[in-house]
């Protein structure tokens, strides 16, 4: 065993060279930022366009419009019939999809590398050339309503999460669900979609990420040809959302649903996010999440509540380091069948209090650190994943330099920094506590 630990300490792969040597970035004259990641192992390319707009940028009362527009982007455009982009990708053996988040909306295709130009031709066409019809609105709105039915209305855990978010954020639009509240979703119309599109879809609000068997020079030539000719929208300004006031009272959500077979406890705190040039706090919280709830067998919550006292059958700690505005840090505990939610809440609080008093198990810390280093090696096997990193970072206030500095920052974080951040994080006044449970009459 000690030999193996020793082997880890000697794992001195030059990460910087491995991860960064193949990335190039530049900006087109109209303000569109481009990142090229080279991976020549296979003649495949991933082509992504990320817009700096997400559900948190929606006008009040129009929740779901960012995601609805994402669906509508597959309809008719200046040069494409409805569905033609999808059919063309398929006819070339490729795959494609789109996604909407709180902070960004993205579109991607994965095709043979020599089909890149065709993808750029189509993607640039729908950046400013969308031509919706009222029929598109009615049918696609029903699709999105069914999506909400499937993912949220049919899943009590998802409804619970919506309530927790709404309770945590007092003022910031992060409290509104990405898919939209049903009553607002049902009313979204043509004007809403086109207004949102015209306001946010433009080259100077987009990031192009191309990853795979390509060269930066070729990508630049094509990007200038297809995206470079689109005019910038000078009306676009940096995003400034409503921010949170000081939180002065802990909140509590008791959610009953007859479909809940397994109750659980969760507490979510407001947490700082990665900021450009200032990522250490977030890096320390990444460690904290792993230390508290990364592995059931070795983390603080898992060891204490699942192995020692056996009060929980599952525990975890979850932190999302990337966000444009302040993010969240959550603790979760699923109680054993003979343990109440109050008991598991008390046990979890005691576990955290003991952790704050005792500090970090250094062996655990070192194992996590070596895993972060190794994860950079494993990450290189999936160039799409690297592309996503850049797209997500650049639409959430970070720079290429920040992305490239991150692995090294993770290696520099100390246990002391983690404890300092933990002390700042666990402010009950900036938290929401949730109990998800079965129907009320059966509850204890």
């Amino acid at each position: 065993m000690f030999n193996r630990l020793f082997a880890i300490l000697c794992l001195c792969v030059p990460l910087e060279a491995l991860a960064q040597g193949k990335t190039t970035d530049f900006i087109l004259d109209n303000g569109m930022q481009v990142v090229v990641i080279e991976d020549h192992r296979a003649p495949v390319v991933v082509h992504m366009v990320w817009y700096k707009v997400g559900s948190a940028d929606e006008p009040s009362g129009k929740s779901g419009i960012a995601h609805f527009l994402e669906h509508l982007m597959f309809k008719k455009t200046k040069n494409l019939q409805a569905g033609e982009l999808a059919d063309t990708v398929a006819a070339n053996g490729g795959s494609h999809n789109a996604f909407t988040s709180l902070d960004y909306t993205g579109y991607y295709q994965r095709v043979a590398a020599d089909r890149l130009e065709l993808m750029m031709q189509m993607e640039s066409d729908r950046m400013t050339g969308l031509q919706l019809s009222p029929d598109d609105i009615a049918v696609e709105r029903n699709v999105v309503i069914e999506e909400r039915n499937q993912r949220t209305e049919s899943a009590p855990g998802a409804l619970f999460k919506e309530h927790l978010n709404a309770a945590l954020f007092l003022n910031h639009p992060y409290g509104v669900p990405i898919v939209g509240w049903m009553h607002e979703l049902e009313e979204l119309n043509y004007d809403d979609a086109m207004a949102f599109y015209k306001q946010h879809y433009a080259p100077n609000n987009a990031i192009l990420v191309v990853a795979g068997d390509v060269t930066p020079d070729d990508v630049k030539t094509l990007a200038e040809r297809y995206y470079g000719v689109l005019p910038a929208n000078r009306a676009i300004t940096p995003r400034a959302r409503r921010q949170e006031p000081p939180h002065r009272a802990a909140r509590r959500v008791i959610f009953h649903d007859e479909r809940v077979a397994q109750p659980f406890f969760t507490r979510t705190y407001l947490a700082p996010e990665r900021n450009s040039g200032n990522q250490r706090g977030a890096a320390a919280l990444v460690y904290l999440a792993q230390i508290l709830g990364g592995s059931s067998a070795t983390s603080v919550l898992g060891r204490t509540l699942q192995y020692d006292t056996k009060q929980a059958i599952y525990t975890s700690a979850q932190y999302r380091p990337m966000a444009l505005d302040p993010s969240t840090f959550s603790l979760v505990a699923v109680p054993a069948s003979d343990v109440s939610l109050q008991q598991i809440e008390d046990a979890l609080e005691a576990t955290i209090a003991n952790f704050m008093a005792d500090g970090i198990d250094i062996e655990l810390f070192e194992r996590i650190k070596s895993q972060f280093r190794a994860s950079e090696i494993y990450a290189m096997d999936n160039v799409s994943g690297i592309a996503q990193r850049y797209g997500a970072a650049l639409t959430q206030g970070l720079t290429v330099a920040d992305v490239q500095a991150w692995p090294q920052i993770l290696q520099e974080i100390t246990p002391e920094e983690v404890m300092t951040l933990a002390g700042q994080l666990f402010d009950e006044k900036a938290s929401v506590t949730g109990w998800l449970m079965g129907p009320k009459e059966q509850a204890q």
Binding site: R41, E146, D381
Partner: protein, 434 residues
Amino acid sequence: MMRIFALGALLGAGTVQADVAVKSITSPGGLSAWILEEPAIPFTALNLMFSGGAALDPPDKRGAAFLMTGLLEEGAGDLDSQAFAAEIEALSASFSFDVSDDTLSISARFLTENRTETLALLKTALIQPRFDPDAIERVRQQVLSILATKAQDPTDTAQRVWTEQAFGDHAYGTSYQGTESSIAALTPADFLAAHQKLLVRDTLSISAAGDITAEDLGPILDDLLGDLPAGSALETTPLQLDIPTGLTVVDMSTPQSVAIFGHAGIDRNHPDFFAAFILNTILGGQGIESRLTAEVREKRGLTYGISTVLISKDQANVMLGQVASANDRINAAIEVIRDEWRKLARDGVTAEELQAAQTYLTGAYPLRFDGNSQISRILVGMQRVGLGLDYINTRNAKINAVTLSEINRVAAQLLKPEALNFVVAGQPTGLKEE
């Protein structure tokens, strides 16, 4: 038109040597394996797949293989569950153990620097699992919780009832995850029995991809797997399927109904399989816009997603579909499904549809071979179902060889609108049970 690159080049390490990529080796001890040498990134993906899975559970021990497989990472040799987990972490490796009705699969990923230590640890998990009482209880409680949650889920419920109706008393008719009562009754002896039955050399397929050479792999495999019992190759007999026809509603309080529908399918070794595979892609597959997606989602907005799939199990084949629609719209969706099934069986596909599907499928195939982990997973699956190395280079020709008259003959034979069995979980309106 998509065959612009040779598959060999795609599998290579970006070198000019096109067709050396995947090799077949036999270890000094007689184990055969496929390997892709790809030294660009200093790690290796290793996949092991045993034929024979949870369907071999004794009838009153459903869930034994599932729990046993989960317990393989809950302590082995001198290490208890927590010490074992800490070792994996210290090595920055990952193991995953999975079981299905027909297979038990293990995938491992490890850094070149830690290869020897990681494989020694994996070997203890394979040869010396502990099945400690406290680990068993912990995993048992987790499984019971998962089962209780699934019982409330409309998709899981519709699938459970459909498979019960289709497979009856055969193991396929119940979940490999067991039931509350079967799980509660399992003992360490059951896990030992499942372990001895499933982890045997003669049913094993092996692949590796990454920073490892063919020369090194043979002795490594002998050391890792040589101590497993030889066992004997699995023999399976096809089930005589008697799937009922009709529509069953399972009442669940949910705003959206989930429908599972289907009938008998086709064996992947059947000469018509490729025609059926293309047919399913056109009807309800992924990648190109299928007829069902066009009719149910795009034209009518009745669902977020609808799909069909050909499922080839070792002892049975089914063609299965799934859709979810609001309770007051599921009847409309089901009507469209029946119509499309009828139309396709009667009129077949058009030449344009066939060509579009062939173009998509042949173009997409090489794009699958992406990354060491993914390639190793594909290679082990190919061996397990008896495909040869040459399949990688002949598969697209088989897709392209399917003619319009052939696929339409298969459409008429395979698609049986009158034989469709629907199970709907939810509170659908306007639906009649049959």
